[in-house]
Symmetry: C2
Subunit: 345 residues, 2 copies
DNA sequence: CGTTAGCACTCAGCTCTGTTGAGTGCTAAC
DNA sequence: GTTAGCACTCAACAGAGCTGAGTGCTAACG
């Protein structure tokens, strides 16, 4: 339906528009395309492209600008990604690979994304989909409150406060912790959750009263746990980069976007969607479905730890971004971050 | 040196300028001041004020605008703060007082500041100036690395990883932790730090080898501790409010400010200065000494827990802010936050 | 029949222009 | 000391006119 020639011209037009942000006219396109066509011919083709909804003119006598559908076609079948330069690649490797703490790897990945693309870089913090309980500790607080410390996955420490039905002595708490550690240490946390629920029933009468109380406390501890975990979070760098783009110039739109960064929810939903995708995913303009991102594009890639998808990272910028550069950057960063987290854990 | 009449006029001028952001001319001022003076007289007075460096005119035939010194005089001796309305006060009390977790109190204080003032609200997270060690735990990791868990002040949990000289068995680690808990539990953390250093020397040969190794590890654990602690941090809300002020309109200035929020260092230094002050502190424009804040004013107040200054909170906005409203808001919020943290701990 | 040149037309953006209104400083009179 | 009057300044706005980039349409060309 869409001729080869028209596609080639669309490609040149989009590239040109991405390069300097001005609507592209027929003469410019004729020169740029190296196709030995006169501007008049180009104009005919452009009229066709406009009918197809791939480009449009901001006003009667301006050049043409790609529409969302135009970008889509461009990204899906016209784009030639340019591979990263060797030197840049080893730079990246050094900067992500050499950090000691995993949180550092995340934030440096985020900064790198934002630096390299001059846009905003986001890295969703990994949700370990397999968390094994290593050790559990109870410490008494004032009243009936107890501080629970959970050590997960070798070296991750989490803590929360639970309210118990009666007061427990330090010795009792110690005993309960011993029992729970003995029964559950080394198991996956989801398994623990389930077994705790199961044992609740089972031990109601049959067992030592203290043990069944221990199970009850464990249930509380792990239940809240789940909630705090699902919240999710991400590391962001370079929002301010977005301020320089003319497309974002009107304060109101930018403000909404910044607010979204703070509230995180919309952005998180979008990243969540990308979790299940295999490789690079691109949301152009309104495609994302979140109105805050209306004149933005988002390029994401999941990263893997232990061959399991652990999280997503990506870049947020104006629709008119250099996809050919951004895509490999996001891709490579995802791989490198996965590798760094793997080796480092 | 500066006549009473001139002061009264300066006050009206500043108030007027704060109200609607336009340079104030002699006719307006004559009307506003209710002083039965003609514009011509006012002009004479204004010329005097300009000579004193308290106001100036953006261009030849515009009205006058307060200078930094003008604001200073206004804030220091002319300002009449308007007390908060009863209803607002009880609103505040409800919103800060009823949260369960201390972190929630901090972030809700920050949001309240930003909502009420329509500017950016900052709350420095409290640095407990007295941290007592409650319990310490060592867990072996791969290689010679050990995970240290510190429980401070009843319910605060911190953890870090240290590298040991040789490999320790879990039993050894347990023994060392027992020893350290026995010797140091309940003591102030700074005291622990000092005593650890002292005992190092003392125990070098005289004691059990394991014990002296324990001391060495403790030193590592607490030393890094200090560093992580001094970093400081704050909760911020409502940066985007700043985008609506005409004063901040030029992107570059705003961008610098946002970057400062991210890097936090400049802002933290400023807040640090306010830690030692008794009550409300006000930095107007360049007074702060940090060029990012050049056209901003910062109003801060320390808040107390246990009658000891625990942290600082405040508001950042354009120099032209409604000081008479902002000051009581910051003041009351500081008190309420202190009360909330007190009762809740 | 696809391609091209030519032509009339549109429109954003710029500069130049004059006008208006708010404000000033100065001087002389009250 | 206070005020009225006057000449002057200047930002802001609106209108006019020009330019350059671009368009759609039509008719001619290979």
């Amino acid at each position: 339906m869409i001729s080869d020639r028209a596609q080639r011209l669309l490609k040149v037009l989009v590239e040109r528009y991405i390069r300097d942000g001005q609507p592209v006219g027929s003469r410019t396109l004729a020169r740029d395309s190296n196709m030995e066509l006169s501007p008049a011919t180009i104009r005919n083709v452009m009229a066709d492209l406009e009918d197809m909804g791939l480009i449009n003119a901001p006003h009667t006598s301006a050049g043409r600008v790609p529409t969302v559908q135009g970008y889509r076609l461009f990204v899906d079948s016209l784009l030639t990604v340019r591979p990263l330069r060797k030197s840049l690649l080893s730079d990246l490797q050094r900067q992500i690979g050499t950090v000691s703490k995993p949180e550092q790897a995340l934030s440096s990945a985020s900064s790198l994304l934002s630096d390299l693309t001059a846009m905003a870089g986001v890295v969703m913090i990994p949700r370990h989909n397999q968390e094994s309980l290593r050790q559990l500790e109870f410490l008494p607080l004032s009243g009936n409150r107890v501080l629970v410390i959970l050590v997960l996955n070798e070296k991750e420490v989490q803590n929360r406060i639970i309210e118990t039905k009666r007061h427990f002595s330090p010795a009792e708490l110690q005993q309960m912790a011993n029992y729970l550690n003995h029964s559950f240490a080394g198991r996956d946390i989801r398994e623990v959750r389930q077994r705790v629920l199961g044992e609740m029933e089972e031990t109601k009468q049959s067992m030592d009263r203290l043990m069944s109380e221990a199970i009850e406390m464990a249930q509380q501890a792990f239940q809240e746990q789940q909630e705090g975990d699902g919240e999710g979070d991400f590391v962001l760098a370079g929002q301010t980069n977005l301020m320089s783009y003319a497309e974002m110039a009107d304060m109101e739109r930018l403000r909404q976007l910044f607010d979204a960064f703070n509230q995180k929810s919309d952005i998180l939903h979008l990243l969540d969607q990308s979790l299940s995708a295999e490789g690079i995913q691109i949301f152009i303009g309104e495609e994302s479905g979140y109105s805050v991102l209306d004149e933005c594009s988002v390029v994401t890639a999941p990263y893997k730890v232990d061959n399991e998808v652990a999280g997503v990272l990506g870049v947020i910028g104006p629709t008119r971004m250099a996809y050919d550069r951004v895509i490999p950057i996001v891709d490579v960063t995802a791989r490198l971050l996965g590798a760094a987290l793997n080796q480092n854990q």
